[in-house]
Symmetry: C2
Subunit: 367 residues, 2 copies
């Protein structure tokens, strides 16, 4: 079998409000250099580029973020950085790419990738992905990349793996929503549960068929948009028909109905892996991640220079400034120039509430 054409579709429409005040509507989490000198989306593209030529990349984002993404990813084809006229969740986003690519090559394999996750072990990631791509190319298969859980996390969905298939791949028994803590503990203990990474692989044909079957209205709208691709009417078609798509995720709109066919009948597979995966869901998660990287001791600080006296476990971001911390612990202090966030690691999940407040205030400068 010839090597399948592979098209990475990177979803980059999220706001990542929990990284306020650094994340903004026009400069979301995926644009921030949270893991290295590169931004999250630059890292995402860089780790996929060995698997597909730049001209195969698609990015689905929104109008606010599109300019900054274009500036950060100059090597990708600008016209394939598509701005949704309004957020319509993951099924229409990947579906749009599927209908366009289906017209070119129904057997092309599409991969759906979040744009704001850390993957420490890139080689392992690409090896597992290559296995997934082969599996997705082999027929009417849907492949989900499963992350080996390292803790009973209640913030993620889980995948229950079923019978072994080829290589490390297994069939998928079921998808489980975010569990309570005791259930999460059982999942981790059982050994055949994986975190749903949000990364899926399938051929254009498989996805188009799945959309037609499970989300027929969405499929109709996307077909009309795809017909205009490459013409001057594309933007108008996108603007007109995309908002009419159903606001459904891949998980609820496609995988759940399909998995009703049972482990044997659904043709959904899981490629499980241990990649040092981290979705950096909050300042606290970012703090933990930076501490684990081991480059800084006691505190994670981005500043010009520092004086620290009995100060440990703090996340401080004040680039260029002299930071003096005395007798403080487990704080998060982020200076964005126009705003100053002061909270604790424990409360850093609540940062989204600040953005909600600013949204309600129609404070467009700070969100």
């Amino acid at each position: 079998m010839a090597k399948p054409e592979f098209f990475p579709v990177i979803l980059a429409g999220g706001r990542g409000t929990r990284f306020w005040p650094l994340s903004r509507k026009a400069f979301a989490k995926q644009l921030l250099p949270l893991n290295s000198e590169q931004s999250m989306i630059q890292e995402t593209a860089a780790r996929l580029l060995p698997l597909a030529p730049a001209e195969n990349f698609w990015i689905i984002t929104n109008q606010h973020l599109r300019p900054a993404i274009g500036r950060q990813l100059k090597q990708l084809p600008r016209k394939q950085i598509v701005a949704e006229p309004m957020g319509r969740n993951t099924a229409p986003a990947i579906g749009l790419a599927a209908f366009i690519l289906y017209r070119r090559n129904p057997k092309a394999v599409l991969g759906l990738f979040p744009s704001d996750q850390v993957i420490a072990k890139e080689k392992k990631f690409r090896k597992d992905l290559a296995e997934g791509i082969r599996l997705a190319a082999a027929g009417d298969n849907i492949v989900v990349m499963g992350v080996k859980p390292t803790r009973p996390e209640t913030g993620y969905g889980y995948i229950e793996a079923g019978a072994a298939y080829k290589g490390s791949a297994t069939r998928v028994r079921r998808f489980c929503e975010k569990p309570k803590e005791d259930v999460a503990k059982q999942f981790v203990a059982a050994g055949n549960f994986y975190w749903n990474s949000g990364m899926f692989l399938w051929s254009a044909q498989t996805l188009v068929n799945a959309l037609r079957q499970n989300l027929p209205n969405t499929a109709q709208q996307l077909e009309k948009i795809a017909a205009a691709w490459g013409t001057r009417k594309f933007e108008a078609a996108l603007k007109k028909f995309y908002p009419q798509c159903d606001d459904k995720s891949v998980d609820y709109g496609i995988l759940e109905p399909r998995s009703a066919a049972g482990e044997e009948g659904s043709n959904i597979f899981c490629v499980p892996a241990d990649w040092g995966w981290n979705d950096l869901g909050s300042w606290a998660a970012h703090f933990e991640h930076r501490m684990a990287q081991g480059k800084q001791k006691h505190n994670v600080i981005n500043a010009g220079d520092t004086f620290l006296l009995e100060a440990e476990g703090n996340y401080i971001h004040a680039p260029g400034k002299f930071v003096a911390a005395v007798g403080v612990h487990n704080l998060v202090v982020v200076d964005s120039g126009d705003a100053l966030l002061i909270t604790t690691l424990e409360r850093s999940q609540d940062v989204g509430k600040i953005v909600k407040y600013l949204d309600a205030q129609k404070n467009s400068k700070l969100v």
Copy 2:
């Protein structure tokens, strides 16, 4: 008796390092608007101006602070803002003014005033001061203004009042150094102890005589400098002779030896008063003071706008910025543009250690 000529001498050479990062070598605590829209030294001058014409004011400071003081107090005679070539404590500072004014009018009354204190009850202050001025003019008397203590503070010196004299004035039995807490409690309970406000009153003649008797070397140097006052040689004389003065405070250099003569013989008097006096010795003291003013609830915040969620008892200074505080308590966060201080109210006394560190690093930009 004619109303005595009164000359306020404001001491403004201190660094006030505990207000770092706002206070700097060239912009010390007395230049900060900690109590109102006006700076501390502007308030000090304003509350004394009803008692003496502007041309009677003297300010003893240092070369770093002189330019900023000149800008803040344009109504005072520029040549009477004197910069010590090096810090020589309070006795030479007030002594210099005494020797200069002695040549003009030996009976002139000089008042020594710190430049960085809050006095809430200004009318009461001026009434008590007027009584002190009359007493100081009446002979070879030294008058110290005593603040009625409101708590067993261990950070101040105390004055033990003796026999009643005229009006509210008493003789002074002794000066007590900063006491331990149990002793401070006894002082407050006894009822005849006062905080040493650092404000003294005496005639030029009395002070000149006291210096000649107790600090003869200092008196000699000051006499040489005073002889050059009003000539082109003044700055050179100041530079040459002032550093040769003894590094002594008024308390140790003059009052202690004199009080050895006993309550009756020393002619030292205390005018006790209740002025809402506060020396704002730290960010925590400033926080308490601002809370007591009652203009802000729960937190003291200087910022553009705020979002507060379960955040109380914090002192936050980030002018112009949007400040979001979530789940934090009793913190001090001060953003000076080039530096960011993060500490607690409890630890705010340790801010001076940061300045010591920066001094040791020869970091002239940040101190």
